[in-house]
C-alpha cells in the first residue's frame, strides 16, 4: 500500500504539515492576525479575510464552519483564534470546535488585550507557546488512504481539458483506488458537463443534489442579468482558446478522474476520510474554492493551470500542474509539474502517475513552488443577499 510521511493527530487523519494557525474571527482582527503570524515565525500561518462583525445568520454559519474547519484541518497542530471582541461570531465557540478535534487552542481578544499593539504582542507570545506544544511532533509512515486530495483548476486554457486535468484525474483515480478521498468543486464549472457527472452519481439523492446545485449557480448569473462570460470563461480562458462555459466545464470535470461520484457537500463542510470521489459545492472563484476544500479537511491540493495561476494556501500545500508548454517554461518558478508532455504524446497514465508520486512526496514534506515563495492566498466565500434570499426560499 502506498504511504507518505505524515503528522499523526489524536483525532482523524494525519496532516502533511504541522502549523500553528492564527484565525481572525472578522475583518477587524484580520490585520492583527497577519502581524502575529508574520512575527511569530514560519510555522505560524494566518488566514486573513474580509468577513464582517455581524453577518446575517446563514452567512455567519458558513463563516463559522469555514474557520472551525480550517482550525481542524489535519495540517493544523494548534490554533489561536483572534477576535476583536465585539463580533457576533463567538471566538470561544470556534475554539471549542477545534479543541474537540484534539488540538491545543487559545483565544485572544483585541479589546481585552488593550488594543492593537498589545494584542499583537500577546498573540506572538501565545503562538510561541502553542508552537512549543507541537513543535516536537515528528512525521511517521501513514497510509495514503488518510489523504483528502483537493483538486482545483484556475487560469484555464484549452490545454487544461486536454492535458493537465485528465492527468490529475488519473492521480485522483489512483488515490481513490488506494482508499483515499479525492474532491473537486467550482460548481459553475460543471455547467454544460453536469450530465456526465450525474450519470456517475452513486444514487438518486446525490444526483438530485448535484443538479440542484448547478441550477442554483446558473441562476445566479441570471439574477445579475448578464452573460456569465467574462467571469466564466475569463478573458484569460478565452485568450487560451476556451470559448464557452460548456467547453470549460467539459475539460474541468476531467480533473476528478473517472470513479463514481459518492456525494456533494456544502462549502467548507467536512469531507469524508476514505470516501472516494466527493464533490464540494463552491463558486469557481479559486481562492474561495480552495479554502472551502481545506476547511473540509483536504490536506493537499493539486491546482491545474494553463495560463499560470500562482496562488497557494497558508494551510495546505498547493501543487501547480500545467499542460501548457509555454507556461511550463515561462513560469517555471511557479509551477511544480509539467503535464504539457501529454501534448507531445506522453501517456496520460504516465503523467498521472508522476503527479501521484508528487502528491506523496509533497505530503511527506517536499515544498511546492508556492510554499517556497510563501504565496498563500486566503478568502472566505461570503453569501450575498440574493443567495441568502434563495436559501430562505424567497426566490
Amino acid at each position: 500500500m502506498p504511504t507518505f510521511e505524515g503528522y499523526e493527530r489524536s483525532d482523524g487523519p494525519a496532516g502533511v504539515r504541522n502549523y500553528v494557525a492564527v484565525l481572525p474571527v472578522s475583518i477587524a482582527a484580520s490585520a492583527i492576525a497577519d502581524e502575529i503570524a508574520d512575527r511569530a515565525g514560519e510555522q505560524v500561518r494566518s488566514t486573513p479575510h474580509q468577513m464582517g462583525r455581524d453577518p446575517p445568520a446563514a452567512a455567519r454559519a458558513q463563516i463559522e464552519r469555514t474557520l472551525t474547519g480550517v482550525g481542524c484541518n489535519p495540517n493544523v497542530g494548534a490554533a489561536l483564534v483572534v477576535a476583536f471582541g465585539t463580533e457576533r461570531i463567538d471566538a470561544d465557540e470556534i475554539a471549542d470546535g477545534i479543541a474537540d478535534a484534539g488540538r491545543p487552542v487559545e483565544t485572544l481578544s483585541v479589546r481585552e488585550s488593550g488594543g492593537t499593539t498589545a494584542a499583537v504582542e500577546a498573540g506572538v507570545d501565545a503562538a510561541g507557546e502553542l508552537w512549543d506544544e507541537i513543535g516536537d511532533h515528528r512525521r511517521v509512515e501513514c497510509d495514503v488512504s488518510e489523504l483528502r486530495f483537493g483538486v482545483e483548476c484556475g487560469g484555464s486554457d484549452a490545454t487544461s481539458g486536454i492535458a493537465a486535468n485528465p492527468a490529475v484525474g488519473v492521480a485522483c483515480d489512483r488515490l481513490v483506488e488506494d482508499g483515499g478521498t479525492a474532491t473537486f468543486s467550482e460548481t459553475p464549472e460543471f455547467i454544460g458537463a453536469e450530465h456526465i457527472l450525474a450519470e456517475r452519481c452513486v444514487d438518486e439523492s446525490v444526483r438530485e443534489r448535484l443538479l440542484e446545485r448547478v441550477d442554483r449557480r446558473e441562476a445566479a448569473a441570471e439574477l445579475m442579468g448578464v452573460d456569465l462570460r467574462g467571469a466564466q470563461p475569463t478573458p484569460g480562458n478565452q485568450e487560451g482558446g476556451l470559448t464557452t462555459i460548456e467547453e470549460k466545464s467539459l475539460g474541468a470535470i476531467t480533473k476528478g478522474g473517472t470513479t463514481p461520484v459518492r456525494g456533494i457537500v456544502d462549502y467548507a463542510a467536512e469531507l469524508p476520510v476514505g470516501g472516494g470521489l466527493v464533490l464540494m459545492d463552491t463558486p469557481g472563484y479559486d481562492v474561495e474554492s480552495v479554502v472551502g476544500k481545506v476547511a473540509g479537511g483536504a490536506q493537499i491540493v493539486a491546482f491545474t493551470t494553463g495560463r499560470g495561476s500562482t496562488t497557494g494556501n497558508p494551510i495546505a500545500p498547493v501543487i501547480k500542474v500545467t499542460g501548457n508548454p509555454k507556461t511550463a517554461d515561462r513560469l517555471a518558478n511557479n509551477m511544480d509539474v509539467d503535464a504539457s508532455t501529454v501534448l507531445d504524446g506522453e501517456s496520460l497514465d504516465v503523467v498521472g502517475d508522476r503527479i501521484y508520486e508528487r502528491l506523496r512526496s509533497v505530503a511527506s514534506g517536499e515544498r511546492t513552488a508556492a510554499e517556497r515563495r510563501r504565496l498563500e492566498e486566503f478568502a472566505i466565500n461570503e453569501l450575498q443577499p440574493n443567495e441568502l434570499a434563495e436559501l430562505r426560499g424567497e426566490v
Binding site: I27, G115, G154, A220, D227, T310, P385, E387
Partner: protein, 379 residues
C-alpha cells in the same frame, strides 16, 4: 488623545486658518504622498504587497476581489480601484495583475493614465512569474516614488475633503461623538471644505426625511432609491437599519451637522461638487466605507466607533473618535479623540495636525485593511 481646546474661531490659532503643509496635485491637495501598489485581482495581492514593502513611500491596497465577479459587482470593483488611484494622497500607482482575470491590468492601467495619474503596470503571467513580477514592479514603483518627491504647498483644512464614517448607533455615538463630529463638519463646510459621509443604513427607514435634506430632486431620488434598496437587503446592514428605524432621523445623522446633501455618490465613485456635504452609497462597515470615502476623494477620514475598531487604511489617515468611556479607557493607543472631552475646535485642531503630517493611532501601528463592498455573488 487630544487635550481640550478653548480657542474660538477668528483668532490666530483657529485651526481652520492655520496653514498646513500639503501636497499639490492637479486637481486639489493631499495630506500624504504615497505610491499605491494596487493588485487588480486577489491572485496578485501578495506580489503587490512585497513590492510595496520594498519601496519607501509605497503602500499596498490588497483586496479579495477581481475574479469571478460579473455585471454590477465587477463594475463596482473596477470603479473603486480606479478612483482610489485618483485620491489626492496618491502620487502614482503601480497596477499588479495576474493576467487571466476579468479586470485586465494593462487596459486598466491605461484607464488610470487617462486621468493623469502617473501609473505603471506589471502582470505576473506576462513578465514570467511572481519573482520576476516583484522585480519589475519594485523597479517601477521606485521610479514613481522618486518622481513623487514633494510638490509641497501651503494649504488649510478648507482645501481638503474630509471623510466621515460612523460604524454604529450606540448611545455614546449618538449622544456624544456624532454631535461633536456634526459641529466640526458644520465648521469645515463654512470654511469651504468638502465633507463626504458614509452609511446608507441610516437612510433605509427614513427615505423621505433623507430625501428632504437633498438640494436637488435628482439627489433626493437617488437617496430614496438607495434607502429602499438597503431596506430590502438582509444582513450586516440590518442591525443598523433596525436601530435607525427606532430613532428619529436627525439623531441617526448627527454627524452630518446641519448640512444639506449636495451629492449622492455611488460606491467607488468620486465626489464632483466643489463644496458642501455629499453622502456616499456605502455600508457603515469601516473597512469598506473608508475605501469608498477614499475613492470619493477624502484625504483624511474621521471614524466614529463606540467599540474602537482599530483598522487603519492604506490610502487615508484615520482619526478614531469614540464617545464610549470604556473603549477610551481600555484602548488608549487605538483612540485618537475622546469625544467626551473634546470640543469642535479641538477636533479641528487634531485634524489640522494630522493633515500637516502628525501620525494617527492607525498610522503608528501601521495595520491597515482595504476592502471593497460586494454587490453580487462569486461565480
Amino acid at each position: 488623545m487630544s487635550a481640550p481646546d478653548t480657542s474660538l474661531s477668528g483668532d490666530a490659532s483657529d485651526p481652520l486658518s492655520v496653514p498646513l503643509e500639503a501636497y499639490a496635485r492637479d486637481d486639489g491637495v493631499g495630506v500624504r504622498n504615497r505610491v499605491l501598489v494596487v493588485p487588480s485581482v486577489i491572485c496578485s495581492h501578495i506580489v503587490a504587497q512585497r513590492i510595496a514593502d520594498a519601496v519607501d513611500r509605497a503602500v499596498c491596497a490588497p483586496h479579495d476581489h477581481g475574479c469571478a465577479q460579473i455585471g454590477a459587482d465587477h463594475e463596482q470593483t473596477e470603479r473603486t480601484l480606479l478612483n482610489v488611484t485618483r485620491n489626492p494622497n496618491v502620487a502614482g500607482a503601480t497596477v499588479v495583475g495576474l493576467g487571466c482575470e476579468h479586470l485586465q491590468s494593462g487596459p486598466f492601467a491605461e484607464r488610470i493614465a487617462d486621468h493623469d495619474v502617473p501609473v505603471r503596470e506589471a502582470a505576473i503571467q506576462d513578465v514570467g512569474g511572481s519573482d520576476a513580477c516583484i522585480e519589475v514592479g519594485t523597479e517601477a514603483t521606485r521610479e514613481l516614488a522618486t518622481a513623487a518627491a514633494a510638490d509641497r504647498t501651503e494649504a488649510s483644512l478648507a482645501d481638503l475633503t474630509v471623510g466621515v464614517v460612523g460604524s454604529d448607533l450606540a448611545a455614546s455615538t449618538r449622544e456624544v461623538a456624532d454631535p461633536l463630529v456634526g459641529e466640526t463638519v458644520d465648521a469645515l463646510r463654512s470654511a469651504g471644505a468638502r465633507v463626504a459621509v458614509a452609511g446608507t443604513e441610516r437612510l433605509a427607514p427614513h427615505a423621505e426625511a433623507a430625501a428632504d435634506r437633498a438640494v436637488t430632486d435628482a439627489v433626493a431620488e437617488r437617496m430614496r432609491a438607495a434607502a429602499e434598496r438597503t431596506a430590502d437587503g438582509p444582513g450586516n446592514v440590518r442591525g443598523l437599519v433596525r436601530q435607525a428605524a427606532d430613532l428619529p432621523f436627525d439623531e441617526v445623522v448627527g454627524a452630518w451637522g446641519d448640512a444639506t446633501v449636495e451629492e449622492f455618490v455611488p460606491y467607488g465613485g468620486r465626489m464632483t461638487v466643489d463644496e458642501g456635504l455629499a453622502v456616499v452609497d456605502t455600508p457603515s462597515r469601516f473597512e469598506e466605507a473608508a475605501t469608498a470615502l477614499s475613492a470619493a476623494g477624502a484625504s483624511v477620514v474621521v471614524h466614529v466607533t463606540a467599540e474602537g475598531i482599530p483598522s487603519g487604511h492604506p490610502i487615508v489617515p484615520v482619526l478614531k473618535v469614540t464617545g464610549d468611556g470604556e473603549t477610551a479607557a481600555i484602548l488608549p493607543d487605538d483612540v485618537d479623540v475622546d469625544a467626551r472631552s473634546t470640543t469642535p475646535d479641538g477636533l479641528l485642531d487634531e485634524l489640522r495636525r494630522v493633515a500637516d503630517g502628525e501620525q494617527t493611532a492607525t498610522e503608528r501601528h501601521g495595520l491597515t485593511k482595504f476592502a471593497i463592498n460586494r454587490v453580487g455573488p462569486s461565480m
